[in-house]
C-alpha cells in the first residue's frame, strides 16, 4: 500500500521495486484528449490532469502485467447473460415532451448550428 508519487516530479516515477522509469505523457496529448471529450481546459487544469494522469499511470505500471496475462478483462458489472425483448410496439414520447427540454427547436425538430457536409 504505497503512497502517491511526490508532487512536482514530472515524468519520472518510482515503480515498486523496479526503480525509476520515464513515463511520457505530453501536454499535447492532454489537449487532444480534452478535445476528444469536447471540453476546453485552462492551463492550470491541463497541468493538473497531466500531473494526476502521470501519477495514476505510474501506479498502474507498477502492477505487474505478466500476472494478469491469463486473466480475462471484465467489461460488465452484470453477472448473467444478456436478454432480449419481443419486437412489439411501446408508446413513444409525445412530441411536446420530446422537445420540452431543448434549447432551440421549431414545431418538430431540434436545431443545431448549420452543418454543410461537402
Amino acid at each position: 500500500m504505497e503512497g502517491l508519487c511526490p508532487a512536482g516530479v514530472e515524468n519520472l516515477y518510482n515503480t515498486r521495486g523496479k526503480g525509476w522509469v520515464v513515463l511520457k505523457l505530453t501536454a499535447e496529448e492532454i489537449v487532444k484528449a480534452a478535445g476528444e471529450g469536447r471540453v476546453n481546459l485552462t492551463a492550470a487544469e491541463e497541468a493538473e490532469v497531466q500531473h494526476q494522469s502521470l501519477n495514476i499511470l505510474a501506479l498502474l505500471d507498477a502492477v505487474p502485467g505478466e500476472s494478469l496475462n491469463e486473466i480475462p478483462a471484465a467489461c460488465y458489472g452484470h453477472k448473467q447473460p444478456g436478454s432480449t425483448r419481443q419486437d412489439t410496439r411501446e408508446p413513444s414520447l409525445p412530441l411536446a415532451a420530446v422537445l420540452h427540454n431543448a434549447a432551440d427547436t421549431d414545431d418538430y425538430c431540434f436545431h443545431v448550428p448549420r452543418i454543410v457536409e461537402s
Binding site: 495514476i56 501506479l59 498502474l60 471484465a74 448550428p113
Partner: protein
C-alpha cells in the same frame, strides 16, 4: 409526533392506523427545511409537491391499502429522475432539466407509501465525494458545517428524512454515509433498477440506500429491489424476504464469519480518528457475535486504481449525450463541434472536465490496452479474490473511508487519481458485490464508517451484521454543528 426523527418502520405503523397524522407533515417540513437552508442539503424542495404526495398516500391508506413505508420521508440524490420536478445532477448542465419519467426505484418507494421530500445536493453527477463540485455549492455536514457531506446522507443525518437515495459508483453513497454517520447499503449489481438514475459509470453503479437504522434500510431494500424489464442489467435472481432473513436465526451455522482486510491500517491516507474508532470496534465485534480473522487480499489495494480508469472511460462515453441539443444547458458556437465544446466547457465543473479528459486519454489507442484493458483485468482479479475469500467467510470487513469528512475550505486536492476515498469502497463496485457501511463515532466525536462486503446476492448477511452492531452501538445523532447553525430546532 416528529416525522423525521421517528424510524420509518414505526412511523408507518402509526400512520397506517391513523392517516390523519400525515396532515401536518407538509407544514412541518416547510419550517424544518427552511431552517436547514444554510446546510445546502437540498437542491430542490417544494412544499407543494410534498402536500400532493401526502394527500395521495392518505387517500390510498383510507382506501384500505397496506403501505409498509407509509409516510416514510425520503431525500433523493438529485440524479434520480423525477417527472415534473427538476433533476439537476448538481450540474449547471442540467440546471433546468425536467425529466419526462421518474426513476424506477423512486416509483417503487412511492408505491410503498413513502413521501419524496426533496432532491438532495450532491457531487456533480455523483462523481466522488470531495465536496466541491456541486453547481449549487457544497452540501455541508450536519456534524460540522465546515466539512463535506456527500449526497443525500446529510438529509438523513440531520434527521430531515428517514431514508435517502444516492448513487454508488466507486463508493460515493457509502462514503457520504460514513462522513455523516448513517448506514448505507450498496446492493449487488443489478439488484435495484438503474432506470432513471443518472450515472457516470454504468458497469459500477447501483443506487445506494441510506438510513439511520437497519430496520429502515431493510424496508427500503425490500421496496426497491427486484427485476425490472426496463433495465437490461437488472438481476433475475429472486429477491429474498430480507426482513425474515435478517431476523431468522442462523440455524446451527454459528456466528457470522468475518474476514478482516489484513493491513487495513497500513493505508497511507488513514487518519488516526478512523484507526482508533475502527480498532475499538474490532475489539468489540466478538461480543456482538462476529468472529473475525485477518485475511490477506493482495489485489484489494489495486481497486481504486482500476476503478478510476474504468469509471473515467465510462464517464467519457456516458456523459457524451450532454451536447446542448435535446436537453440541458447550451452555449452557442459558430459550428456544431464548437457549440458542443462551448456547451460542455461551461456546463460541466472543472473536476468533471478533467475526469472526462482522463477518460479520453486512457481509452485512446495508445493507452487502451496498457491501461484500460489492464484495469479491466485487475477488476477480474479483485473480484475473484473477494469471491474466493467469501467462499470461506460470510463477510469481508474494512473501514469505509480512510478519513473523516474532508474539510470544505481546505479540500485535500480538487480531485485526485486515484481518489483516496475510494480505497476501501471501490472493490465492491468492481466486483458487483453488496456492501454496507455502519456508522461509528471517533474519539473526538466525528462520524467514521465500518464496511462489510458480502457474497453476491447476500444483502441479508450485511443487514444481519448491521443489526448485531446496532444492538451494541446505539446510534447517535447529536448534530452539534447543525444546532450551532440554527439547525432544525427540535
Amino acid at each position: 409526533m416528529n416525522y423525521p426523527d421517528t424510524p420509518a418502520h414505526q412511523l408507518a405503523a402509526r400512520v397506517q392506523e391513523k392517516p390523519d397524522l400525515l396532515d401536518q407533515m407538509p407544514g412541518d417540513y416547510a419550517v424544518l427545511c427552511s431552517k436547514s437552508q444554510n446546510l445546502q442539503i437540498f437542491i430542490s424542495f417544494e412544499p407543494q409537491a410534498i402536500f400532493q404526495e401526502v394527500s395521495t398516500i392518505k387517500q390510498r391508506l383510507l382506501a384500505g391499502k397496506s403501505l409498509p413505508l407509509a409516510g416514510a420521508t425520503v431525500a433523493l440524490g438529485d440524479n434520480f429522475c423525477t417527472a415534473g420536478l427538476v433533476t439537476t445532477c448538481a450540474s449547471r448542465m442540467l440546471s433546468s432539466y425536467e425529466p419526462p419519467l421518474t426513476a424506477r426505484a423512486v416509483d417503487a418507494l412511492r408505491v410503498q407509501g413513502s413521501v419524496i421530500i426533496g432532491k438532495a445536493n450532491m457531487e456533480e453527477f455523483g462523481l466522488g465525494s470531495t465536496g466541491n463540485s456541486s453547481h449549487y455549492g457544497a452540501a455541508k455536514n450536519p456534524w460540522d458545517p465546515d466539512r463535506t457531506a456527500g449526497c443525500g446522507a446529510a438529509a438523513a443525518a440531520a434527521t430531515l428524512v428517514s431514508l435517502a437515495l444516492g448513487t454508488d459508483s466507486c463508493g460515493e453513497a457509502r462514503q457520504a454515509a460514513s462522513y455523516c454517520g448513517v448506514l448505507a447499503l450498496k446492493p449487488s449489481y443489478g439488484r435495484i433498477s438503474r432506470r432513471g438514475v443518472i450515472e457516470y459509470a454504468p458497469s459500477l453503479t447501483q443506487p445506494g440506500l441510506m438510513a439511520r437504522n437497519t430496520r429502515d434500510l431493510v424496508l427500503a431494500l425490500e421496496a426497491t429491489a427486484g427485476e425490472d424489464p426496463g433495465d437490461p442489467t437488472s438481476l433475475k435472481l429472486l429477491v429474498p424476504g430480507y426482513f425474515s432473513r435478517v431476523h431468522e436465526g442462523r440455524k446451527g451455522k454459528g456466528p457470522l464469519k468475518v474476514a478482516l482486510l489484513e493491513d487495513w491500517d497500513a493505508v497511507p491516507t488513514l487518519e488516526t480518528e478512523v484507526r482508533e474508532a475502527f480498532q475499538a470496534q474490532l475489539d468489540d465485534l466478538p461480543k456482538a457475535g462476529l468472529e473475525v480473522e485477518a485475511v490477506s487480499l493482495p489485489s484489494f489495494q489495486e481497486s481504486s486504481l482500476a476503478a478510476a480508469v474504468i469509471s473515467a472511460v465510462e464517464a467519457f462515453s456516458n456523459l457524451a449525450n450532454y451536447d446542448g441539443v435535446r436537453f440541458g444547458y447550451r452555449a452557442e458556437g459558430p459550428s456544431l463541434q464548437e457549440m458542443y465544446t462551448a456547451t460542455r466547457t461551461s456546463g460541466f465543473s472543472s473536476k468533471l472536465k478533467q475526469f472526462i479528459t482522463f477518460g479520453a486519454l486512457v481509452s485512446s489507442e495508445k493507452y487502451y490496452t496498457s491501461y484500460f484493458v489492464k484495469s479491466q483485468k485487475m477488476r477480474t482479479r479483485i473480484a475473484r479474490e473477494l469471491e474466493s475469500c467469501l467462499e470461506e467467510y460470510d463477510l469481508v470487513l474494512t473501514p469505509t473511508v480512510p478519513f473523516t469528512a474532508p474539510r470544505l475550505e481546505r479540500p485535500r486536492v480538487a480531485w485526485q487519481l486515484p481518489d483516496p476515498a475510494h480505497f476501501f469502497t471501490a472493490a465492491a463496485n468492481l466486483s458487483g458485490l453488496p456492501a454496507l457501511t455502519f456508522p461509528l463515532l471517533s474519539p473526538s466525536g466525528l462520524p467514521v464508517g465500518l464496511q462489510f462486503i458480502a457474497r453476491f446476492g447476500d444483502e441479508a448477511a450485511l443487514l444481519k451484521a448491521a443489526l448485531l452492531l446496532e444492538k451494541k452501538n446505539p446510534l447517535q445523532f447529536p448534530q452539534p454543528g447543525f444546532k450551532d447553525q440554527g439547525g432544525c430546532g427540535r
